[in-house]
């Protein structure tokens, strides 16, 4: 006979699991969004930008400054961080990366260098402590059904992520601009022949990717502490779905982001410290061992 208390514990266990999964899905969507911004750049230029996470952390610290100086809420500061990060990224891409874009190794070198420059720049300005950006939604929670309690900020990032992704899919799928982006991806030479300005398209897509970063930064900053050294972490959690999703299939990148997010939260719930942090990587490696072509790729 089961003692009465074990039912209660079982219930608690399940609740922790549900919480973890929901939390993971919500946060993972935003990881997917960052991965999407990487996939966009890769799709039109073949470049993997290792500074992507640090560019986003730069946005996060911009929201911090905007909050201390102007008392702006992170959701509102998107209006400022977005144009700034677009300008920074576009200038770097146009004047540093595009001139050497035919030399793959040099580009990798450059994005890695950029990563260190940004990271150390932030460290110099803000110091090495964890900081918080206050938001109107701090501490706000929503109860879903009768078992799950989620932070409102996470729910907002989830909705915003899928909304943004929806707009992006539609744009890529059904507009002239979207077709030109896919054309550059599939055959840049042919794209130029039909009249697409390939370099301009690449620049626009890179800017679009930066815009997505600004949004992701504000979505993540509400409700979690930020640190200058986190860029690489974000780059890696974005790189994993980007690889799993098959490098250029945007929807599967987003779904893979969720898988990584769930692995991360459950790892933190069930395993202590460093072991917990390693779970998403273990899941990533396991998936690659069994499906080297990525989660959704077909063998070819």
């Amino acid at each position: 006979m089961i003692p009465p208390s074990s039912g209660l514990i079982w219930g608690l266990e399940m609740e922790i699991l549900y919480q973890g999964v929901i939390q993971g899905v919500l946060i993972g969507s935003t990881y997917g969004l960052i991965a999407l911004s990487m996939g966009l750049i890769y799709g039109v230029s073949g470049i993997t930008n290792f500074a992507q996470g640090d560019l986003m952390v730069l946005c996060m610290f911009m929201t911090l400054t905007l909050s201390t100086l102007l008392n702006l809420d992170p959701y509102v500061s998107i209006l400022i961080t977005m144009p700034v990060i677009i300008a920074v990224t576009a200038v770097v891409y146009r004047y540093l990366i595009q001139p050497i874009s035919s030399q793959q190794l040099m580009v990798i070198q450059l994005t890695l260098g950029l990563m260190f420059v940004i990271q150390n720049g932030i460290l110099m300005v803000y110091g090495g402590n964890f900081q918080r950006v206050p938001s109107v939604l701090d501490g706000d929670v929503l109860v879903i059904g009768d078992f799950a309690v989620v932070q409102t900020s996470l729910l907002i990032s989830f909705v915003a992520t899928w909304g943004l992704a929806g707009v992006l899919f539609w744009t890529l799928g059904y507009t002239d601009f979207g077709r030109s982006v896919r054309a550059v991806h599939q055959n840049a030479k042919a794209a130029a022949l039909v009249g697409v300005d390939v370099r301009r398209t690449q620049l626009i897509v890179v800017s679009l990717s930066a815009a997505i970063l600004a949004v992701s930064a504000s979505l993540l900053v509400a409700g979690r502490p930020i640190h200058p050294g986190e860029g690489l972490h974000y780059t890696v959690v974005a790189l994993m779905p980007f690889v799993l999703g098959g490098m250029n299939n945007l929807l599967s990148i987003l779904v893979s982001g969720i898988i990584i997010g769930v692995a991360e939260t459950l790892g933190n719930v069930y395993l202590n410290g460093p072991l917990g942090f390693a779970v998403p990587y273990a899941v990533f490696i396991a998936i690659l061992i069994f499906r080297p072509q990525g989660l959704f790729g077909s063998r070819s």
Partner: protein
């Protein structure tokens, strides 16, 4: 309409074209013949500005186009059907055609041009929502030509459109070319197929190792032994 004078081009240390001169008048259909590696694709890719010129002049309708970007050349009215078709394989037939009319001017006439192309190649009409990569070789070539026509070009350049096609499809494609020429389109046809080309063009140039070695009216070239000799590279 198009006038190339003393043009040279190459890749890295390699000089491929050495002082090529060539002229095409409005309404003409002109052939460019040559053996493998003669530099035919290099020449048409220079015209389209996929490959940079190293010297010489390239004038289209009175203005120098040798320094334009590739998309600007297309906007001026030169459309190329590249060697090996170069379709967007994961996009549908319709999307490939839509991209053909990408330039601002062409977009305004997209549906009219689409109708024209589907009339010319009714086969494409049945395959409208199929991915371009899954078409047969002949259908892909029709799509490549259709895509190039969507921009409403003044000059159409075709780089070996008969390559790898069955005789039936080659016939379809040359019939289409003849029909478009009759409607007033200016055409530069790059080919390796000597007889087929001479039967279908008015004038012809023969390119050999980066130089024009023979040029003239096709009737005169048909029985010229020098043509065959140059062409076979002996």
């Amino acid at each position: 309409m198009l006038e190339i004078e003393g043009a040279s081009a190459g890749y890295g240390d390699l000089d491929i074209l050495r002082g090529v001169s060539l002229k095409i008048a409005k309404g003409e259909i002109v052939g460019l013949l040559g053996a493998n590696n003669a530099g035919k694709s290099t020449l048409v890719n220079c015209i389209s500005r996929i490959v940079p010129w190293r010297g010489g002049k390239c004038v289209f309708e009175g203005s120098d186009i040798s320094r334009l970007h590739a998309h600007e050349v297309t906007e001026r009215g030169i459309s190329q059907v590249p060697e090996g078709r170069q379709l967007f394989p994961e996009m549908t037939v319709w999307e490939n055609l839509a991209l053909g009319a990408y330039t601002r001017k062409a977009r305004l006439e997209r549906s009219r041009k689409l109708e024209f192309v589907l009339d010319l190649f009714p086969r494409l009409s049945e395959r409208r929502v199929q991915a371009a990569g899954t078409l047969s070789g002949g259908e892909q070539q029709m799509l490549a030509i259709g895509r190039a026509l969507m921009s409403g070009p003044k000059l159409l350049i075709l780089d070996e459109p008969s390559l790898g096609l069955s005789p039936k499809f080659v016939l379809t494609i040359f019939e289409a070319l003849t029909a478009m020429h009759r409607e007033g389109l200016t055409i530069l046809l790059v080919e390796q197929n000597l007889n087929l080309t001479l039967q279908n063009v008015q004038r012809c140039y023969v390119l050999e190792r980066g130089e024009i070695v023979i040029s003239g009216r096709s009737e005169d070239m048909q029985d010229d032994p020098a043509v065959k000799r140059a062409y076979l590279g002996t």
